[in-house]
């Protein structure tokens, strides 16, 4: 049995979190992500979970890292200024390979910016916000039902690859309400499982991986003892800074994700079968693009939409294939032009790539985007 509801994107994330089996949230509310914390504060105690409003965003990250180490599925949610604060411990979670989902409902920045206005200005921050070489996954939903689905997927990926996953939302999707059909109970939703060691506790090496390159992760208190550190470490989990250990650790973390891009990277194609020109847009920006494509089609223009659902790792293969297929590409995003840089890199001059960057705190209307498409197609 299912129920039909009118939900905000942020509330659909909460439903997804409950369905995924999240048992701990540590966070500090901030517009436009507040509804995630607000609703989880209500929902988590009812499923035996814990909600803690921490003193700040850095502490929130510390709390969810600790809770994840005890074997729980964990979440935090924030927006721009809070996402900046979380970066230090996002790096720690990458280094220590601690699964978690960080929701970032983007707003206009930098700094306090505009709390209630939409933006997609954290694209690069989601990839490179913390220092040092590191590898991370970011997913961007473009509808309320997809907020639910991608929250589940974020946990599936995070647990499978032992990596922090960023659910990179924007104010348009986080705050709009639309129809969603949800199961009455979530018991039948498959739960992501963390791989467990098969050896005896005394033989356990915390970061020794099989061919999947993902080490098993026993819960603290389960009898397996291990050392967690932000220092470069070897398979024992203890610091080791030799050139060989440093490179081995980085290579494994890279390959555990980048050897599995087929599994991780998702891109939706809309009206692309016969398209001669492609719009690349995601999240709230894609909502404009669907409609602009519909209008273009009515006018006989062979335009389609390519919508990255996985923002990071970048959809290199898909963008290269796209460049072989179309005569031109326009990247539409609600920032001064971030994702377009990656598209340009992948396309490498094969076809013209133009940018329709909208950074005036309002989403583009379909008419505005259509006008930009026509201008670009005429070039």
């Amino acid at each position: 049995m299912s129920r039909i509801l009118l939900l905000q994107g942020n509330q659909a994330v909460v439903e997804g979190a409950i369905a995924a089996g999240v048992k701990f949230f540590g966070g500090y509310p901030i517009t436009p992500s507040t509804e995630v914390a607000e609703s989880l504060a209500e929902r988590l105690p009812l499923v035996g979970g814990k909600f803690i409003q921490m003193e700040d965003e850095i502490a929130s990250m510390g709390a969810i890292i600790g809770a994840s180490l005890t074997g729980k599925k964990v979440m935090t949610a924030t927006s721009g200024p809070g996402f900046s604060l979380k970066q230090e411990l996002i790096g720690y979670a990458c280094m220590a390979e601690v699964p978690m989902v960080i929701v970032n409902v983007q707003r206009v920045g930098p700094s306090t910016g505009q709390p209630t206005s939409p933006s997609q200005g954290d694209i690069m921050q989601a990839r490179w916000g913390t220092h040092g070489d590191h590898w991370i996954i970011a997913l961007t939903p473009a509808s309320v039902p997809e907020c639910f689905d991608l929250t589940l997927r974020a946990y599936a990926l995070s647990e499978k690859y032992r990596v922090p996953v960023i659910l990179l939302m924007d104010e348009v999707i986080g705050h709009m309400r639309e129809r969603i059909e949800l199961p009455d109970n979530y018991d039948e939703i498959p739960q992501a499982e963390r791989k467990q060691p098969t050896c005896a506790p005394e033989d356990f090496k915390a970061y020794e991986a099989d061919e999947s390159l993902v080490p098993p992760m026993p819960a603290f208190g389960s009898g397996y003892r291990w050392h967690v550190t932000g220092l470069v470490h070897d398979e024992t989990g203890f610091p080791k800074g030799t050139p060989a250990a440093t490179k081995t650790a980085a290579d494994r973390q890279y390959h555990k994700l980048y050897d599995n891009l087929e599994d991780i990277v998702q891109v939706e194609n809309y009206c692309m079968e016969d398209a001669e020109y492609a719009i690349v847009a995601f999240g709230g920006g894609a909502r404009t693009a669907y409609e602009a494509v519909d209008h273009a089609r009515k006018e006989g223009l062979k335009v389609g939409l390519v919508r990255p659902i996985t923002i990071w790792p970048f959809a290199d293969k898909q963008m290269k294939e796209l460049a072989d297929k179309v005569k031109g590409i326009m990247v539409h995003e609600l920032n001064c032009g971030q994702y377009v840089l990656e598209v340009e890199r992948a396309v490498a001059g094969k076809v013209p790539v133009t940018s329709y960057a909208k950074y005036d705190n309002e989403p583009a209307t379909p008419a505005q985007l259509l006008a930009e498409i026509k201008k670009a197609m005429a070039l």
């Binding site: 348009v172 639309e178 409609e291 379909p366």
Partner: protein, 175 residues
């Protein structure tokens, strides 16, 4: 056919809730609906708008660009949110707050929404529900049955009869 409505006024008048109720009534009618809003950082005061799109088909862009109806419950909202009205658009104002109508060649309803809430129900906070009654009477955008159901799903227990009365007052304001 896609219907686009913009409910605007001052933060605290309950217009975001009114938009949610309207969208939920549309879902009860078996249609698709999107509700979105924009507001400033203030909890009360400041201009607020709540937009609702209702359609049989998928709605992609969630913001109103060609309003079929604008409800303005403050002078500032009437000025600020009326720029994209077309001659086919309907303008509904709360006559207690909007004394100067924005330039509009289409149909206008100047209704004593908040005045009726205070006079008949003793509380201005019923204005949003009265407005919903009036809007649905004017547009038939959702069925009255779904509207009543959607209102009752959202209002606090013990206020059902007052809210039903508020809807009726709103409907009766439209002649």
């Amino acid at each position: 056919m896609k219907q686009e409505l913009r409910l605007s006024g001052t933060g605290g008048q309950g217009l975001i809730l009114a938009g949610i109720i309207l969208a939920e009534a549309a879902l009860l009618d078996g249609k698709l609906a999107i509700q979105s809003q924009s507001y400033g950082p203030e909890a009360r005061g400041g201009s607020s708008k709540s937009e609702v799109m209702i359609s049989e088909d998928a709605i992609h862009f969630p913001k109103v660009t060609e309003p079929n109806l604008l409800l303005a419950m403050s002078q500032e909202a009437a000025n600020k949110y009326s720029a994209d009205l077309s001659p086919e658009s309907i303008l509904v104002t709360d006559s207690l707050f909007v004394s100067k109508l924005p330039a509009h060649t289409g149909k206008v309803y100047e209704l004593p929404i908040t005045h009726s809430a205070k006079e008949i129900l003793g509380k201005a906070l019923f204005a949003n529900i009265i407005a919903l009654g009036a809007l649905v009477k004017i547009t038939n955008i959702v069925s009255e049955e779904s509207l009543v159901k959607a209102v009752l799903n959202r209002v606090p227990k013990g206020t059902e009869e007052l809210n039903k009365k508020a809807l009726q007052i709103g409907m009766d304001l439209v002649k």
